[in-house]
């Protein structure tokens, strides 16, 4: 069971001719190391799931073969036996000039582990194509390989070329048509170097941060949000050794690519290659399964389309993009709509309507059935009057008459849906029980030994009724299978990645949210001017350019944030310590000095005092005194030296002049209060008075009004000295 265990099929061919001419090699990861396709992937590996009736891996291999790859190493982990068996029995095992070698592992839990294992095997001798077994493409590799090689000659650090394709994300849902999150890439338009890769950008904030040095180093950068990552990479050998060196790299993108981009010590570079006329996409979730199936049916992947790929059975494309195998039994009154695939040996009854769907081989579909946008795999029985909308139905499922599948339903292998039963939207139904333990962060496609499931399934086959009698009612009378419950939190997200289109009400809701966001953005627009979106996260020396207009805008924004924080602290009775922490966090994220914090906090306090109800100046004074007394600690934690205290006084002065004129009369009193509370030291006040001495008359208003107080302070000082 160890990783070192050499599988029987893993032949390490080290022919002498390889030394002369390196054949193009590819590593195909036949495991997605994710759970997005559960519960289906509990029983069958993802790469063997049919995509328009052909296993996904066949698309990948067919493409690799036609692109001139000569040696493919298929890395199998989950259900490795099934993958190996399939490959051995398929045509790929006997292709001339195209060798498919499987590498088996039972304990790899990520792409990183897989690549480390392949590195140990020492089978890769040059540049290779790294791809996962669920990728569909028809691009030509010639150009990207050539670009990669040329760059390598010039710069040995250019170790990877990533294939990208233009694809606009939806403006409403912020996700691509493949159901993945909106992806931000910063690319140097001249060299095509990838500078930033951000797939989990926080849209709520509406900005992403770029390292300032990037802008310094590159004369121009284009920031794209309409590029789709095709997950096809041309890599140099170093990539494998990098994975081995950095044993914590797990995910190809999240860890490896981002790791290389952030860590500039080694100086490795990643480049991009954009494809225009050809197609490439990876099936990542049910939404992309749906989208890519439709793309294949619409022939974007030509020549990798079903009628050409399935050599044996004659499949013909008819008008409206209907694919029909030669021996389909179709009732005269059945209506087959456009963009539908019907596999061999399928029987379809009277008045049945099928549109935008894929129906596999050997299915029996009764009368008056409605099938819309669904994927029905092989040997499925659908009895009369069933309705299926945007569902995936795996092999061997039986739907008794009148059963209904609402949008987004996944029926795993051999499930039986009872009569008239309505399977609720987005439910996942399987004969296997939902695994109780939840691997929270690193999700695995069932990585255990395959024999386990084999036995389990055997048992299920043997005695389904007895075994599942207790849960049978879950799927109506005569139904067999468990409806998996959706984990808390994921419920809201379910619609995002399902095969079903996003429901209207969700879209409307998103649209409204979006509008609000936008309003907020426009409100902030004046604060968030030119530099707002692209903020350089420079080091701690932010105060150096306090004077320029940009940072003043920033300051305004910061001030608002502080005020909001403070108000929340007041209303929700947040502890002072927590409030200090929060303000500190704001200070760091806005790159402000503590002087600004002190000013901002004081400003918020005074504003609160003004805004709380009062009828006379004395009442206002009392308000201010209350607030100051209560939050003295907060303010004090940002007043470390005299400069900051002076800043507070200046701020107060400014307020009295502008936003809170009510305080103008109270200026000396408040000053006294601050002195009493030991917020301001007498030095600070005296220094302030000294500074103001030289200013214009108009500026001296408050100095004059507080003359007495200053005088008193001075005298007190003198007295002290006298003592």
């Amino acid at each position: 069971m160890g990783a070192q265990k050499k599988s029987a099929t893993a032949r390490v061919s080290e022919d002498q001719e390889e030394l002369a001419r390196n054949p193009l090699q590819a590593i195909l990861l036949a495991d997605s190391f994710a759970t997005t396709f559960r519960p289906i992937t509990l029983e069958r590996p993802k790469v063997l799931l049919p995509l328009v009736n052909i296993p996904m891996i066949d698309y990948t291999l067919a493409w690799l073969e036609s692109a001139g790859v000569e040696e493919v190493f298929v890395f199998c982990c989950a259900h490795s036996k099934q993958v190996i068996d399939y490959l051995e029995s398929s045509r790929w095992s006997s292709q001339p000039n195209f060798s498919v070698t499987t590498i088996e592992s039972h304990n790899s839990i990520s792409a990183g582990d897989a690549l480390r294992l392949i590195y140990e095997r020492n089978v890769i001798h040059g540049d290779f194509v790294l791809i996962s077994g669920d990728t569909v493409s028809n691009m030509s590799l010639t150009q990207v390989l050539q670009e990669h090689k040329e760059r390598r000659k010039k710069d040995a650090n250019a170790i990877m070329t990533m294939v990208v394709k233009k694809s606009k994300p939806s403006p409403i849902t912020q996700q691509s048509r493949l159901g993945t999150d909106e992806l931000f890439m910063a690319i140097n338009p001249v060299t095509k170097q990838l500078l930033c890769y951000e797939d989990k950008a926080e849209h709520s904030k509406g900005f992403i941060s770029l390292d300032k040095t990037l802008i310094a180093d590159n004369p121009s950068i284009i920031l794209h949000n309409d590029k789709q990552d095709c997950y096809i990479d041309v890599c140099s050998q170093e990539v494998l050794s990098l994975f081995t060196d950095n044993f914590d790299y797990q995910h190809l993108r999240r860890h490896f690519v981002k790791g290389l981009l952030v860590d500039d010590i080694m100086g490795y570079k990643i480049f991009t290659h954009e494809i225009h006329s050809s197609y490439a996409a990876r099936i990542d979730n049910f939404r992309s399964y749906d989208t890519i199936s439709k793309d294949i049916i619409q022939r974007w992947t030509y020549p990798f389309v079903p009628d050409i790929l399935c050599g044996s059975s004659a499949i013909k494309v008819e008008r409206q993009g209907t694919y029909r195998a030669s021996d389909v039994t179709l009732s005269r009154s059945a209506h087959i709509g456009s963009f539908t695939f019907i596999g061999q040996g399928t029987k379809i009854g009277n008045d049945t309507k099928i549109s935008h769907s894929v129906v596999g081989e050997g299915c029996t579909i009764g009368s008056n059935v409605t099938i819309e946008g669904s994927y029905i795999w092989n040997n499925v029985t659908i009895e009369d009057g069933c309705q299926l909308r945007h569902a995936i139905v795996c092999d061997g499922v039986i739907m008794k008459s009148g059963a209904v599948l609402q949008p987004g339903v996944i029926l795993s292998f051999k499930v039986v849906v009872g009569q008239q039963f309505v399977v609720p939207a987005y439910s996942k139904v399987s004969l296997l029980q939902q695994p109780t333990q939840q691997d929270s962060d690193e999700e695995l496609e069932y990585a255990d030994n395959t024999s386990g499931t084999g036995e389990l399934r055997y048992k299920l086959n043997g005695d389904i009724a007895a075994d599942l009698s207790e849960t049978a009612y879950e799927l109506g009378t005569g139904g067999v299978g468990y409806i998996w419950s959706v984990f808390e939190g994921a419920q809201d997200e379910e619609w995002k990645h399902s095969v079903a289109p996003i429901p209207k009400d969700k879209l409307v809701k998103l649209m409204l949210d979006k509008d609000e966001d936008e309003e907020q953005l426009t409100q902030d627009g004046n604060v968030l001017s030119a530099s707002g979106e692209l903020k350089a996260d420079s080091d701690d020396n932010g105060s150096e350019d306090d004077d320029n207009a940009d940072s003043r805008d920033d300051y305004g924004f910061f001030e608002k944030e502080v005020e909001a924080t403070f108000l929340r602290a007041v209303h929700e009775n947040v502890k002072v310590d927590h409030a200090v922490l929060e303000v500190n966090a704001l200070r760091l994220s806005y790159n402000m000095a503590s002087v600004d914090c002190a000013g901002a906090i004081f400003y918020s306090m005074m504003k609160l005092a003004v805004e709380s109800p009062h009828h006379s100046a004395s009442e206002l004074h009392r308000n201010a005194a209350d607030i100051i007394t209560k939050w003295v600690k907060l303010l004090k934690s940002f007043l470390h030296d005299i400069d900051e205290e002076i800043e507070v006084i200046l701020k107060f002065e400014e307020m009295c002049l502008e936003s809170a004129k009510e305080f103008a009369a109270l200026f000396p009193q408040v000053l006294h209060l601050l002195y009493d509370k030991e917020i301001l030291q007498e030095d600070a006040i005296l220094r302030w008075a000294d500074e103001k001495e030289g200013a214009d008359e108009s500026d001296k208003v408050f100095l004059k009004s507080s003359e007495k107080f200053v005088q008193w302070l001075k005298e007190a000082e003198e007295e002290d000295e006298d003592d």
């Binding site: 394709k165 849902t173 309409d226 989208t291 974007w300 029909r324 009732s331 935008h356 946008g373 996003i502």
Partner: protein, 457 residues
């Protein structure tokens, strides 16, 4: 054998992936492949023709299945099968006529005789067909006992040089293969020179100061026009660009390089320009038995425009493009839908193809057919390597010039049955008609399955 097998597989995968462009290249490569299949086939002592036919047929069926839309493959396979039968027949007749003196002669002599055997032998064969049943055909179904009966000699195949000409029969076995390979070589030669043969006729058709319109790019058309140019004809060419692949641009470039006055127009301008045109000359993908043409997309429109303005519509086609099949529903069944990316940029339209919102079904359909079917009545003239022909004459022509006698092998599956059931010397006319009906009937079957479903029939 494994060598040929690899070649066959390679060719099939190329056909499947649509990596071979152009029917001439396809035809030539098919013929070359079949030649190597023939040369590598081990012929048994007797009944060699059957063995050859069988191996060619086996490969041929796979080739046709690999890309059913590329009709040139099937055409060449049929031609090769026909060659094998002809050669076998001529040899048998020669043997039966008791011309033993020539049969035992040297291989060098055979080569000399190769120039005329087809005609003479065919003539003799025709005369003796009713009475003679060549052993090859007689034993097609039971060739095993025959070859088992005479286990010794010459199983090593015909191309072994060192064999002494021991007996009359063993030399015949070598001779058959030799003859067949010679004839296939001729076929390959024919295919590769068909441009020149067609181009030779150019001056007869293109006259001084004419305006010629063509669409897309065809090598035959290019050679044809250039041949006329070389003969000092001065004329102008309108090239329609041929969306969505715009191969007309390449043709225009090539024509200009050769010094022809060229005007490039869009496909949509064809109707506007046609009144100024004296003749439309286009290439074809395949010519069907009824004279209909499978041609690059857009040509039907050109043909209709030409008809409207009474402009002659001339189709150039090498004989490898002549197909003995009748088109049935050719717009769909003999068509191929290519990738929509030739029409529009995926990236720009990706938001129109988002299935995540709306009804979950694409609202944008992009259809990119490769071929058009041009009805025979729209074609004024076919120019093939054997001369110019009227469309209604195409079926006859195929019989007369391409498969000069009984053209067997239209329908591979029933081939063996039919050679036994249908009398050898079928009258040619009826044979072609029957084949047509046969094929049609087959299509009808398929159609009924397609459209009505078996259960309902």
């Amino acid at each position: 054998m494994p060598d040929t097998q690899a070649l066959v597989n390679d060719f099939i995968s190329k056909l499947k992936k649509r990596k071979i462009e152009g029917s001439q290249a396809t035809a030539k490569q098919t013929a070359e492949l079949l030649r190597s299949v023939i040369s590598q086939t081990r012929v048994p002592y007797t009944n060699q023709a059957a063995a050859l036919i069988q191996s060619v047929k086996a490969v041929g069926e796979r080739l046709i299945a690999a890309n059913p839309v590329e009709l040139a493959v099937g055409n060449v396979v049929r031609r090769v099968l026909h060659i094998i039968r002809e050669e076998d027949l001529s040899l048998t007749t020669a043997a039966m006529a008791g011309l033993n003196l020539s049969a035992v002669s040297d291989d060098e002599d055979d080569a000399d005789r190769d120039n005329q055997p087809v005609l003479s032998a065919a003539a003799i064969a025709a005369a003796s067909r009713s009475t003679l049943r060549p052993p090859s055909l007689q034993t097609l179904l039971e060739d095993v006992p025959d070859s088992a009966a005479i286990p010794h000699t010459s199983s090593s195949g015909g191309d072994s040089e060192g064999k002494s000409k021991s007996a009359d029969k063993s030399s015949r076995s070598r001779k058959l293969k030799h003859d067949v390979i010679e004839a296939v070589n001729e076929l390959i030669q024919d295919i590769s020179t068909c441009h020149e043969q067609i181009a030779e006729q150019a001056v007869e058709h293109i006259h001084q100061n004419e305006v010629i319109l063509t669409l897309g790019s065809s090598r035959t058309v290019l050679e044809f026009l250039c041949a006329a140019k070389e003969k000092k004809r001065s004329f102008r060419v309108f090239v329609s660009e041929g969306a969505p692949r715009y191969q007309g641009h390449l043709l225009a470039k090539e024509l200009v390089m050769r010094g022809l006055q060229t005007t490039l127009i869009t496909d949509s301008a064809v109707f506007a320009m046609i009144s100024r045109v004296n003749m439309v000359i286009v290439g074809a993908h395949a010519v069907m038995a009824n004279g209909g043409v499978i041609a690059p997309v857009g040509l039907n429109m050109v043909a209709l425009a030409a008809q409207k303005h009474a402009v002659p519509f001339v189709v150039l086609a090498g004989s490898h493009k002549l197909c003995p099949l009748y088109p049935h529903h050719p717009e769909v069944l003999l068509n191929e839908l290519r990738s929509p990316s030739e029409l529009l940029d995926f990236g720009e339209f990706s938001d129109c193809l988002d299935f995540g919102s709306g009804i979950g079904a694409p609202l944008l359909h992009v259809v990119n057919p490769t071929f058009d079917y041009v009805q025979p009545k729209l074609v004024s003239l076919f120019i093939t390597d054997t001369g110019g022909h009227n469309p209604s004459y195409i079926g006859e022509m195929y019989r007369l010039f391409v498969v000069s006698a009984c053209g067997e092998g239209m329908n591979f599956k029933s081939e063996i049955m039919r050679t036994n059931c249908i009398a050898e010397g079928n009258f040619v006319k009826s044979s072609i008609r029957m084949r047509g009906i046969n094929f049609f009937g087959k299509l009808e079957d398929r159609k009924s399955q397609f459209f009505c479903g078996c259960g309902e029939m």
